[in-house]
């Protein structure tokens, strides 16, 4: 029922923004005040979280080595999966962040009669994640055209390619990224329901952002492809460029669907720094991935290393076992004291 709660929460947000934006005078709240606040919380929260992480040291060098390390000349190092140089670490991180390389390794285990366990390559999660994240990225970048005047050429080109990726005529042109984002969300949600393990581990915190992003994508698409009469793109752009230049102007010509969309986006921005969505920042800072495997070649420093922790001393050890050691012919630092009975004799 966790997904039902999440769905209802997002529905409540939609209704709130819909009704709220109908109240005269409230457009300013939903179109200007809340977005500003959301952006500030997002930026502040994001920075806070990254600083919070960075304040703790990385006391030990703990890369997960996923290939042969650098050792002897004739043993071939796996530079990507077991990097020693910074450039190799950067390459590993690049593929991790931009190609989700670890997910590409994914396998599915099954236990058969025998018993016999099999491991099959399973790239669905990798594929769904790629579709989702890249579509989302393109959608976000594409939206920059609404905030920038004039629109830079590279952005126009991206826009053209995004629409051109789907063969079509007529207007409005349909974006491939719109479809990709919705598809990505649906696939990731479906996987949470269908995969029994993932279903069992999923929390409210996992369904909520999916519904929220689905809400954002669907209101955005409704605005672009369906409820166009309600929407005046010129006034919207005026408002958004105004937001960026800190001189926002609200026009009565903007329909509720826009405010709902913006309110959901604001919610996402506020939610982001306090949630698992921070994996976006965290992936850069994971010590098992972003460290070089050179801990025997270069000394890694632990700022809280406690120099007062000493081994049980050799002297203490020899004191306890000296007699046995001497008897066994093991060299000692201090010879045995002359035996008392010998002295007497």
């Amino acid at each position: 029922m966790k997904y039902a709660y999440s769905f209802l929460a997002v529905l409540a947000l939609v209704v709130f923004a819909w009704l709220g934006s109908k109240i005269p005078g409230m457009q300013y709240l939903f179109g200007v005040a809340i977005p500003y606040l959301a952006i500030m919380i997002f930026l502040g929260g994001f920075v806070y979280r990254v600083v919070y992480w960075a304040k703790s040291p990385v006391p030990f060098s703990i890369p997960t080595t996923c290939g042969q390390g650098k050792s002897l000349d004739f043993i071939k190092q796996d530079k990507l999966d077991c990097p020693t140089k910074t450039s190799e670490v950067v390459a590993r991180m690049f593929l991790e962040i931009f190609a989700f390389r670890s997910l590409f390794r994914n396998t599915k285990s099954e236990i058969h009669e025998g018993p016999k366990i099999t491991y099959e390559s399973s790239k669905w999660l990798w594929l769904f994640a790629l579709i989702f994240h890249y579509s989302f990225l393109v959608v976000v970048i594409r939206h920059m055209r609404l905030f920038l005047n004039p629109v830079p050429e590279w952005l126009q080109f991206l826009d053209f390619m995004d629409a051109g990726a789907v063969l079509q005529i007529g207007s409005p042109l349909f974006y491939a990224s719109s479809a990709g984002l919705v598809l990505g969300v649906v696939l990731l949600f479906g996987r949470r329901l269908v995969n029994r393990q993932v279903r069992y581990i999923s929390l409210l915190n996992d369904y909520f952002p999916l519904f929220l992003i689905f809400g954002i994508a669907s209101t955005g698409m409704l605005m672009r492809y369906v409820l166009r009469d309600n929407i005046d793109i010129i006034t919207i752009k005026e408002l958004l460029v105004g937001l960026v230049t800190l001189s926002p102007v609200i026009s009565a010509k903007i329909g509720s669907i826009f405010y709902i969309h913006v309110f959901l986006v604001s919610t996402l921005l506020v939610y982001f720094p306090f949630s698992k969505l921070m994996h976006m920042g965290g992936v850069f800072m994971s010590p098992t991935r972003n460290m070089a495997n050179d801990s025997r070649a270069k000394r890694h420093i632990n700022p809280w290393n406690d120099p007062t922790i000493k081994p049980h001393s050799y002297a203490g050890y020899e004191d306890e076992f000296r007699e046995f050691m001497v008897d066994a012919g093991i060299p000692v630092e201090k010879e045995l004291p002359p035996k008392a009975d010998e002295e007497q004799g």
Binding site: Y52, W53, S56, P57, V58, P59, F60, S61, T64, T65, C66, G67, G69, K70, S71, L72, F74, I75, C82, E96, F100, S102, R105, T107, I111, E113, P115, K116, Y119, R196, Q197, V198, R199, I201, L204, N205, D206, F274, K276, M278, H279, G282, V283, M285, T288, R289, S295, R296, A297, R299, N305, T308, I309, K310, P311, Y314, Y317, F324, A328, P331
Partner: protein, 553 residues
């Protein structure tokens, strides 16, 4: 508790209703308490062991007492909840990894079926993600804004005795093998989480004897087995005599000798019990043949480090003996024997904790002249690196046909594979010491290797069924090559493996032996002036060392 019969367990892992076999648990994991009964927990640490450790400088092992996990009252100290929460806070401030791993998990489930404990038990809380959620839920509740505001809605849980019991159960059903971290898109390493859980549990006096007893032995006598100096020497002397009996070559070895070029440290299990003994005999034969100027130490007579399985302080304290002894004896560098978790400590922790080892020299093989740049700072090299280099330069004569009686496969130990990147040196050696060997399936070797199921101090008999379950993925891959290629020997570079895989093979794949790589090197080694003993092989005919170093004469 008697160990389940093979047939029963074979059925149970396939047909038992578990998340691994297709059943969906009816209750949410937060509403499913950990229930202890004889057989599913390792025995708590003995009072005198905890008291001894607590009395040592720099260590904190409070609340020594008689207690048992299957009793309701764990006799925790007053205010233990605060001790735990303060402990979490302290560790968040000390380890960035903990913060990142607590905050970034998206519960994608990529790790879920990667854990050998999950595959063998089907227990949902053995999915790495849920093992981490056991701690993460408390972290959320007390250390995040969302958790403080929304509590359970945000996946938060209060720290209760029930949670603590779960921590104990599942941090001791994890061998810190890091297989899940290979598959995690953020590299979340359950080994880190388990280490933190175990550290926190020790703060309130919850620990197991099979870890704390070896650790206290190691502190006092120098090794886990508790061998006192003369006994340790006797054991090695016996092995040297055995090598002489078998090869006709007298072994010249020494103990605690100042001025030796190399200090050699290996897990004490290698001089204590089969089949590790044969690995130690391999070391002795190899070093004798090349005339290495080296010494054993009775003070630093343990390569392994059970401190790794308790807390940072104890790990550091035990490990510190290596450098202390190297300094006292004035050696140039250290060679380490075959061991898994030992190499996790030596490779990723030692130099940081107890370095800099600037009183030694960069390791340089006296035989080949090779300088081991990869150990430039730590001054400690792995026996496989050393041996592979000897082979490459043709400095030892090897006759693979002397290993004709074995058909090995190779088990990558978790730590050398995933916390060091030592994968191809052992394979290079194998290529030169046996006529033929085969790999297990690709999803079960190298960085995807499966744990023996009994690492991190879980090699104790009272949890044998758990161990056999957790070792199933490993055993199953071995069975695959037994059926296909008539494999009869599982080779490895880990002392815990040599003990645990033996139990595992006896249970799942009877007839398959377990050996250290250096045993195979010793078997194949052609020594100067050798006069090899005759013995009877499996086929009843008499020949020179038909079973290598295991030959009975």
């Amino acid at each position: 508790m008697a160990l389940a019969k093979l047939e029963q367990l074979s059925k149970s892992v396939v047909q038992g209703p578990s998340l691994a076999t297709g059943a969906q648990p009816a209750k949410d994991w937060m509403d499913t308490p950990a229930i202890f009964k004889e057989g599913n927990f390792a025995y708590p640490a003995k009072v005198e062991k905890v008291e001894y450790l607590n009395s040592q400088d720099g260590l904190n092992f409070p609340n020594a007492r008689e207690w048992s996990p299957d009793e309701d009252d764990w006799k925790l100290p007053d205010g233990w909840e605060k001790t735990i929460l303060d402990g979490i806070k302290e560790r968040l401030d000390k380890f960035r990894s903990l913060k990142i791993f607590m905050d970034c998990c998206v519960r994608c489930g990529a790790c879920a079926d990667k854990c050998h404990f999950f595959l063998g038990t089907g227990d949902p809380k053995n999915m790495p993600v849920l093992r981490a959620e056991l701690l993460r839920s408390v972290y959320r509740n007390d250390f995040t804004l969302a958790g403080k505001l929304l509590g359970k809605m945000a996946g938060g849980r209060e720290m209760t005795i029930g949670v603590l019991k779960e921590w104990f159960m599942y941090s001791y059903q994890c061998t810190e093998c890091r297989r899940c971290s290979v598959f995690c898109p953020y590299g979340i390493d359950t080994a880190e989480v388990t280490m933190m859980l175990r550290e926190l549990l020790h703060l309130v006096g919850v620990g197991i004897n099979w870890i704390l007893e070896p650790a206290s032995n190691s502190n006092r006598t120098g090794n886990h087995m508790g061998l006192q100096p003369h006994t340790f020497k006797d054991n090695v002397d016996f092995l040297a005599e055995d090598v002489e009996t078998l090869t006709g070559v007298k072994i010249n070895h020494s103990f605690n000798r100042k001025g030796a070029e190399v200090l050699f440290i290996t897990p004490s299990a290698d001089v204590f019990a089969e089949p590790g003994l044969y690995t130690a005999m391999g070391y002795l034969a190899l070093f004798e043949q090349i005339g290495l100027d080296y010494t054993w130490s009775t003070y630093a007579s343990e390569g392994g480090n059970f401190g790794l399985f308790t807390n940072n302080e104890l790990m550091k304290k035990l490990n510190a003996k290596m450098y202390a002894e190297a300094k006292r004896l004035g050696v140039k560098y250290i060679i380490g024997g075959e061991c898994g978790h030992m190499w996790r400590v030596v490779h990723q922790y030692m130099d940081t904790m107890n370095g800099p080892a600037d009183f030694m020299e960069v390791p340089k093989s006296p035989i080949t002249g090779t300088v081991f740049e990869n150990a430039r700072s730590s001054k400690m090299i792995h026996i496989s690196e050393f041996t592979a280099d000897l082979i490459k330069h043709g400095k030892i004569k090897l006759d693979p046909s002397r290993n004709a009686h074995v058909m090995p496969t190779y088990h990558d130990s978790c730590n050398p594979a995933r916390a060091m990147g030592l994968m191809d040196e052992p394979r290079y050696i194998l290529d030169h010491v046996v006529p033929k060997w085969v790999e297990m399936p690709e999803n079960t070797i190298r960085e995807q290797t499966f744990c023996c199921g009994s690492g991190t101090g879980l090699n104790t008999d009272e949890i044998m069924e758990l161990r056999m379950r957790a070792g199933l993925p490993r055993a199953n891959a071995v069975k695959h090559v037994i059926d296909k290629h008539d494999v009869n020997m599982l080779s490895c570079v880990c002392a815990i493996d040599r003990a645990t895989l033996t139990s595992l093979m006896d249970y799942w794949n009877p007839g398959c032996g377990v050996c250290g790589l250096s045993e195979l090197v010793g078997n194949a080694l052609v020594m100067d002036n050798e006069k090899r003993a005759m013995g009877y092989g499996a086929d009843g005919t008499e020949s020179e060392l038909p079973d290598g170093l295991r030959t009975m004469v």
